[in-house]
């Protein structure tokens, strides 16, 4: 399973990658939407964990770009905001959101459920 974690909080995303690695889930990291797009052009990721609010390309804009490049990619959004503002946009009604601070077990469970929804 190829995973990419995208967040401009470098320490957060690096630490998350280390913790996933200890649980046998290897993940690349990108510190911006732009860097994620560059990496996705080279690597066919199965899943992306995206921060919602980032400088430059936002999480929602990155979702659109990644889906254009990798139509099968699954997405999980992570947000530090208390309430998730989907701006009434129903394109996001099926998206998965997790709040910061994350619970690693919840994240891993969500990753597996997202990749293998039929195994629930």
């Amino acid at each position: 399973m190829k995973i990419i974690l995208v967040d401009d909080e470098k320490k957060f995303v690096n630490m998350l990658a280390k913790r996933l690695s200890l649980r046998k889930l290897n993940a690349d990291v990108a510190y911006s939407g732009e860097e994620a797009v560059e990496k996705a052009a080279r690597i066919p990721y199965d899943l992306a964990v995206l921060d919602l609010k980032m400088p430059g390309i936002s999480g929602f804009a990155l979702k659109r770009k990644l889906l254009e490049m990798l139509p099968e990619i699954k997405l999980i959004f992570v947000t530090g905001h208390g309430a998730i503002d989907k701006n009434g946009n129903h394109d996001h009604s099926d998206d998965i959101f997790l709040a910061k601070p994350l619970n690693i077990d919840t994240l891993i469970k969500t990753i597996h459920q997202t990749i293998h929804p039929d195994k629930q």
């Binding site: 630490m15 998350l16 601070p101």
Partner: protein
């Protein structure tokens, strides 16, 4: 306080407070997220150690340093939050320009679309007699609007000019060295705040200038009969 000013403070003030509080809480959540993941990682290492894996001291040291840095970042954020909360203590007072700008740069730095801003602090500070809260709101909104016109990686310079050609006020020069699309700036609400402060925007080829009068008799008179608020701690 006349009705117009009350409406302005209520409408703009609540919106501004909400916006700043949202960005501060977002910043704090990011800090807690880093501390939480680092603590979780330390716990992971502890569990591995119990299973016989040797711990690397440098890894533990890096984790401790990271947590310390994030706690300091959190304290700094809370200091700014407290400073911002005190901006409503006095409806009008002598207000430090450099303190106001330093706080505005810091608070707007929490916005996801923020750009790096260099505040020129070489000038001797001066004060203006105005509403500290509305001045904070105006400089915050101006920086926020300019950030939206800039490209990723662009930087902004903010130069307060005291004792310039017009000694009746202070001119704040926001510059980023290239033309910016400020067609929709100031928006109606920002223009309303500027009007209450008798502040004047002037668009330039490389950004904009904001003139703040040293005194504001209209605002002082409007706020004169307002009961003092209980000061926050």
């Amino acid at each position: 306080m006349n009705q117009h000013t009350i409406d302005l403070v209520n409408k703009q003030g609540l919106q501004f407070f909400g916006s700043v509080n949202a960005s501060i809480s977002h910043e704090l959540k990011n800090i807690f997220a880093i501390i939480s993941e680092t603590a979780g990682f330390l716990n992971d290492l502890t569990q591995l150690s119990k299973q016989g894996k040797q711990l690397e001291l440098s890894v533990l040291e890096n984790c401790c340093n990271s947590i310390s840095e994030e706690i300091e970042r959190g304290f700094d954020t809370i200091r700014r939050m407290n400073q911002f909360a005190h901006s409503v203590d006095d409806p009008v007072r002598e207000t430090s320009i450099l303190d106001t700008l330093t706080l505005a740069v810091k608070l707007t730095g929490f916005l996801s679309f923020a750009k790096k801003t260099h505040l020129n602090e070489t000038s001797v500070d001066t004060t203006v007699f105005t509403s500290p809260f509305l001045l904070q709101a105006l400089t915050y909104k101006t920086l926020g609007a300019l950030y939206k016109t800039l490209n990723a990686g662009d930087e902004l310079t903010l130069i307060p000019t005291f004792g310039g050609p017009d000694p009746s006020g202070v001119t704040l020069v926001f510059s980023h060295g290239q033309p910016a699309d400020l067609t929709d700036f100031p928006d109606p609400l920002t223009a309303e705040v500027a009007d209450a402060l008798k502040a004047v925007f002037k668009k330039t080829k490389t950004g904009l200038e904001l003139f703040i009068p040293r005194t504001n008799d209209y605002l002082a008179a409007a706020l004169a009969d307002r009961q003092p608020v209980q000061k926050s701690i």
